[in-house]
C-alpha cells in the first residue's frame, strides 16, 4: 500500500513538474488550426522575426568594416542587402560561433528566407534625427554614412553608426512592429481572426501567429523564464552555452535559444534587481495560452480583452526597458564627459571613441522610444532637445542639421559642461516619466560616493 502511495505521489509530482516546465517556455503549443493537414505538431513560429533581429545585428557588425571611404560603395551595397533584403543567402555576420559557444546557423536562410528590415521599419517621422525623415529614411541615411566611416565611427560628428543603426532599429523595427502592429490592430476581432489560418495552408491561426511574431520581435529565448537575468544576458554575450542550450544538443539554435534586442536589455536591467524579462515573457506565454485554449475558434470578446491586458503589460514594460537603456547610456556619456573635461585639450582617442559609442547607444534608444504605439509628446521633445542631433564634438560644436546632400552641418557650439548637465536631466526625465528602477550608471551616484568619502559624521547624535 505504502509503495503504491509513494509511486502515485512520484508520478503525480513528475506530472506536475512536466506541466510546469512546459508552461514555463514559449512553446511548443498544439496545432489548433482545423484546415491544416500537414505533419507539424507545434503551432509556434517566429523565425521571420529572428531573421530580422539577425539582419539588424549584422548591420551593426558590418558598419565596423568601413575603412574610411575606400570600401564605401561596396560596403553600402552589402549593408543594403541586409537592410532591404536579398535573394542571396546572406552569411550571419553578427552571431558567429566561437570556442565553447557553437551556433547552429551560419546563414540567414537556415533561419528564414525572404526577410528584410526595411519592410518592417517605422514609417512615421523621426524628429530626433535631422532632415525630417521617416524611420526607414533615417536607417538608409545612417547606412550611407556608416559605409564612409572609419570602422563605423565618424569622429568629426561623434557618430557611431553601428550603434545608432542597431539601437534605433530595436525601436523602429522590433518595438514598433510588436506593439504598434501585432499587439495593436492585429488583436482586433476581424484582423487575423483565430478561426482562420494566418495564411492559406499555415499550421497556425491568425491570432496565434500574430502573437508569436510579437514575441519574436521581443527576442527572448523560449525558455527565458527558467533563466536568471545574468544567464539570459550571458547567452547574448556568448558566455553561457549551458544556459542557452535548452534542448541539450550542444549548439545554440538562434531560432529559440538566443537572447536578442529588447529581451537582452531587459535582462541587462534585471541584473540590477528589476524583473522586466520574466514579466514580459510571462505575459507573452499567458497570452499564447489564452489563444491556444480557444482551440481554433474565433476569440470571444472576453478572451481578446485578456490579450489586450497582456499586450498592455508587454508594451509598458518594454517601454521601460528602452527608458532604462536610455538612462544607462546617458550615465555613460555623463561619466565619459567627466573624464574628457579633466583634460579637454588633449582628449585620449580611445576615450573619445568610447564616448561616441555610448552616445550612439543613448541616441539610438532615445529615438527608439519614440517609435511605439503611443506618442510620448512633450517627453520626446525634451529628450530630443537635451540629447540634440549629435554629441558635443572635440571642437565643442554640435550637429544642427543636414545640407541638401544629406551631409551633417555643425554650426553651433555647446560646452562640455552644459551637455553633461543635459545627461543628468535625461536621467531625471527617465525617472519622472517612466519610473525607471534599475538605474544603471546613475550620475547622482557620484554625489552619493562623495558623501560616503566625506563621512561627515560630526557626532550627530551627541546631545548637549
Amino acid at each position: 500500500m505504502r509503495r503504491a502511495l509513494t509511486l502515485g505521489t512520484t508520478i503525480l509530482a513528475a506530472g506536475l513538474l512536466t506541466s510546469v516546465a512546459s508552461a514555463d517556455t514559449y512553446g511548443p503549443f498544439p496545432i489548433t488550426e482545423k484546415s491544416y493537414s500537414g505533419d507539424k505538431t507545434n503551432s509556434v513560429s517566429y523565425t521571420g522575426q529572428v531573421a530580422r533581429s539577425v539582419l539588424l545585428d549584422s548591420l551593426k557588425s558590418l558598419a565596423g568594416q568601413a575603412n574610411g571611404g575606400g570600401n564605401a560603395a561596396e560596403l553600402k551595397a552589402t549593408m543594403m542587402k541586409y537592410y532591404a533584403g536579398s535573394d542571396e543567402d546572406l552569411p550571419i555576420v553578427s552571431h558567429k560561433s566561437k570556442d565553447g559557444f557553437p551556433i547552429k546557423q551560419t546563414t540567414l536562410h537556415e533561419i528564414s528566407k525572404g526577410k528584410n528590415v526595411s519592410g518592417k521599419t517605422y514609417k512615421g517621422l523621426v524628429p530626433g534625427w535631422p532632415g525630417n525623415m521617416t524611420g526607414g529614411e533615417v536607417m538608409e541615411h545612417l547606412i550611407h554614412h556608416a559605409s564612409m566611416s572609419d570602422g563605423g565611427f565618424d569622429a568629426a560628428n561623434g557618430y557611431d553608426y553601428g550603434q545608432l543603426i542597431q539601437k534605433f532599429g530595436l525601436g523602429a523595427m522590433a518595438f514598433n512592429q510588436a506593439v504598434d502592429n501585432y499587439l495593436d490592430e492585429k488583436l482586433g476581432a476581424d484582423n487575423k481572426p483565430n478561426n482562420k489560418p494566418y495564411s492559406d495552408g499555415a499550421a497556425y491561426t491568425g491570432k496565434e501567429h500574430s502573437w508569436d511574431e510579437a514575441f519574436g520581435y521581443f527576442g527572448a529565448p523560449a525558455h527565458a523564464l527558467n533563466l536568471e537575468a545574468k544567464q539570459a544576458y550571458n547567452i547574448s554575450k556568448k558566455k553561457d552555452l549551458a544556459a542557452g542550450d535548452a534542448n541539450g544538443d550542444g549548439v545554440i539554435d538562434l531560432k529559440t535559444e538566443m537572447t536578442f534586442g529588447g529581451a537582452y536589455y531587459a535582462a541587462d536591467a534585471d541584473k540590477s534587481g528589476t524583473d522586466y524579462l520574466p514579466t514580459i515573457t510571462s505575459a507573452f506565454i499567458e497570452g499564447r495560452k489564452v489563444i491556444s485554449s480557444a482551440d481554433g475558434a474565433a476569440l470571444t470578446d472576453a478572451q481578446r480583452a485578456q490579450l489586450v491586458a497582456y499586450a498592455e503589460t508587454i508594451e509598458t514594460e518594454w517601454m521601460k526597458v528602452l527608458a532604462e537603456a536610455t538612462f544607462k547610456y546617458a550615465g555613460s556619456v555623463y561619466a565619459d564627459i567627466e573624464k574628457i573635461r579633466a583634460d579637454k585639450n588633449n582628449v585620449d582617442p580611445d576615450l573619445y571613441r568610447a564616448y561616441g559609442k555610448h552616445w550612439g547607444e543613448l541616441k539610438g534608444f532615445a529615438m527608439a522610444m519614440q517609435t511605439g504605439k503611443d506618442n510620448i509628446g512633450g517627453t520626446a521633445v525634451r529628450l530630443n532637445r537635451l540629447i540634440g542631433f549629435s554629441p558635443v564634438t572635440l571642437d565643442e560644436s554640435v550637429v544642427t542639421g543636414i545640407d541638401a546632400d544629406g551631409n551633417f552641418v555643425r554650426d553651433a557650439k555647446m560646452s562640455w559642461n552644459a551637455y553633461q548637465l543635459n545627461m543628468l536631466k535625461v536621467q531625471d526625465l527617465m525617472i519622472k516619466e517612466f519610473g525607471v528602477e534599475a538605474r544603471k550608471n546613475d550620475a547622482t551616484e557620484n554625489l552619493a560616493e562623495l558623501i560616503k568619502t566625506l563621512d561627515t559624521d560630526s557626532g550627530g547624535a551627541e546631545t548637549d
Binding site: E338, N417, Q420, L421, L424, K425, D428, T444, N446, L447, A448, L450, I451, K452, L454, D455, T456, D457, S458, G459, G460, A461, E462, T463, D464
Partner: protein
C-alpha cells in the same frame, strides 16, 4: 570571537576621532583641566587631580545611570543606522531640484581655487551643523513634547563626559536625523556649484573646525571644571562654564545657552547667558518635573506617559473648543428662528 567583537564595538566611540569621547580628546581635556586648576585656581597638582577625578562625581548614582544608559543606547542604536542613506537621499533630492531649476549655474565655479572651495565647504558644513544643533536644542526645551524626552539628559545631577550619551533613544534618532537634514543640502548646493572639487579640510578624518572644538575641551562642557572664557569670547564660543550653567537647577539659568560650539546663535536669538564664576553649581531638574536622576524605568518610559497625557489634554481642549463653537452656532440658529417668529 564575534561576541568579543560586539562587546568591543560598544566602546568604538572611544577610538573614533569623529566622536567627542575619543581618548585623545579626553586626554587633552584632562590636561586643560589640570592647567586651569593649577594656573587659574593656583591649586597643587595633587589637589587638581583630586578635583578633576572627584569620586563624588564619577561614582555618583547619577553618573552610574549615565554609564548604564550608554550601554543600553549603544545596543538600541545598533538597530538604527540608516542615517547615511537619509543624508544621500536628502542631498540627491536637493541637488536634482537645483539641476531642474532655471538656475544655470551647474558646475559654474568648478574652476575656482580648490583651497577656497574646500575652505568654504568646511566652514559651511560646520556652521550649518552648529546652527541646527542650536535650533534643535532650543526646540527640545521649548516644545513640551520634546522637553519630555530631553529631560532625560537634564536629569543628570553630576556631569561627566559620558553624560553626552545620557539621552532618550528617541532624542538620539532626532539628533542623528538633524545631522542628515543639515548637511545633505549643504553638500548638494556645493556639489551643484563646484562639482567634484568639493572636499573638507580634515585632521584625522574630522572637519578641522570640529577637531578644533574637541581638542579645546569639548568634553569639559559636561564636567564640574568650570572653565570660563573672557566675556567677549563667550559671545562667540560657548565655554564649558556656560554649558554647565545651562544644566543649572537655578531658575534664572533656565532656557539659556543652547549653543554647541558657537555662542553667536544664543546671542542673536536672545538666549545667551555669560558665565558667572559660580562654583559648585547644582545640576538637575526641579522636582516638579517628576523625573529621576537614577531610575532607568522612569527615564526610558516617563516620556511616553507624558506624551499620552499631552495628547489626551490636547484632545480635550479641541473637544471643548468644538463644543463651544457648535454652541454658538446653535445660539445663532435659535436667534434666527426667534426673528422669524416675530
Amino acid at each position: 570571537m564575534d561576541f568579543i567583537d560586539q562587546i568591543l564595538s560598544l566602546f568604538s566611540d572611544f577610538s573614533n576621532p569623529k566622536k567627542r569621547v575619543f581618548v585623545g580628546y579626553l586626554g587633552l581635556s584632562v590636561l586643560i583641566a589640570l592647567v586651569w586648576s593649577m594656573v587659574v585656581h593656583r591649586t597643587s597638582l595633587r589637589a587638581a587631580l583630586g578635583r578633576i577625578f572627584d569620586r563624588k562625581v564619577f561614582f555618583s548614582g547619577s553618573s552610574f545611570t549615565d554609564y548604564k544608559i550608554f550601554f543600553i543606547n549603544r545596543v538600541l542604536m545598533g538597530f538604527i543606522s540608516p542615517i547615511l542613506l537619509t543624508q544621500v537621499a536628502i542631498a540627491t533630492a536637493v541637488y536634482m531640484a537645483l539641476v531642474r531649476s532655471d538656475l544655470t549655474l551647474w558646475g559654474a565655479y568648478e574652476e575656482a581655487p580648490r583651497a577656497l572651495v574646500v575652505g568654504l565647504f568646511s566652514v559651511a558644513m560646520f556652521v550649518s551643523d552648529d546652527l541646527t544643533k542650536y535650533l534643535m536644542h532650543r526646540w527640545m526645551h521649548r516644545w513640551p513634547a520634546l522637553w519630555s524626552i530631553h529631560k532625560v539628559h537634564h536629569s543628570a545631577e553630576t556631569l561627566t563626559p559620558i553624560t553626552v550619551y545620557r539621552v532618550h533613544p528617541l532624542e538620539g534618532v532626532l539628533y542623528a536625523t538633524r545631522s542628515a537634514v543639515a548637511q545633505g543640502p549643504v553638500i548638494a548646493i556645493f556639489y551643484y556649484f563646484f562639482g567634484q572639487s568639493v572636499d573638507l579640510y580634515t585632521i584625522v578624518g574630522v572637519n578641522i573646525l570640529i577637531f578644533a572644538f574637541h581638542v579645546t575641551g569639548s568634553n569639559l562642557r559636561h564636567s564640574h571644571i568650570d572653565i570660563r572664557y573672557p566675556r567677549w569670547m563667550e559671545h562667540i564660543l560657548i565655554s564649558p562654564a556656560q554649558h554647565q550653567l545651562h544644566h543649572s537647577i537655578a531658575e534664572e539659568h533656565y532656557d539659556k545657552n543652547y549653543g554647541a560650539a558657537l555662542a553667536v546663535w544664543d546671542w542673536l536669538f536672545g538666549s545667551l547667558h555669560v558665565s558667572e564664576g559660580q562654583h559648585d553649581m547644582a545640576f538637575g531638574l526641579d522636582p516638579c518635573e517628576e523625573s529621576s536622576a537614577t531610575d532607568l524605568k522612569t527615564l526610558y518610559f516617563a516620556p511616553i506617559w507624558e506624551w499620552r497625557a499631552q495628547a489626551l489634554g490636547f484632545a480635550r481642549s479641541v473637544k471643548a473648543r468644538m463644543s463651544r463653537a457648535s454652541g454658538k452656532q446653535s445660539d445663532s440658529g435659535w436667534q434666527e428662528k426667534a426673528k422669524r417668529v416675530e
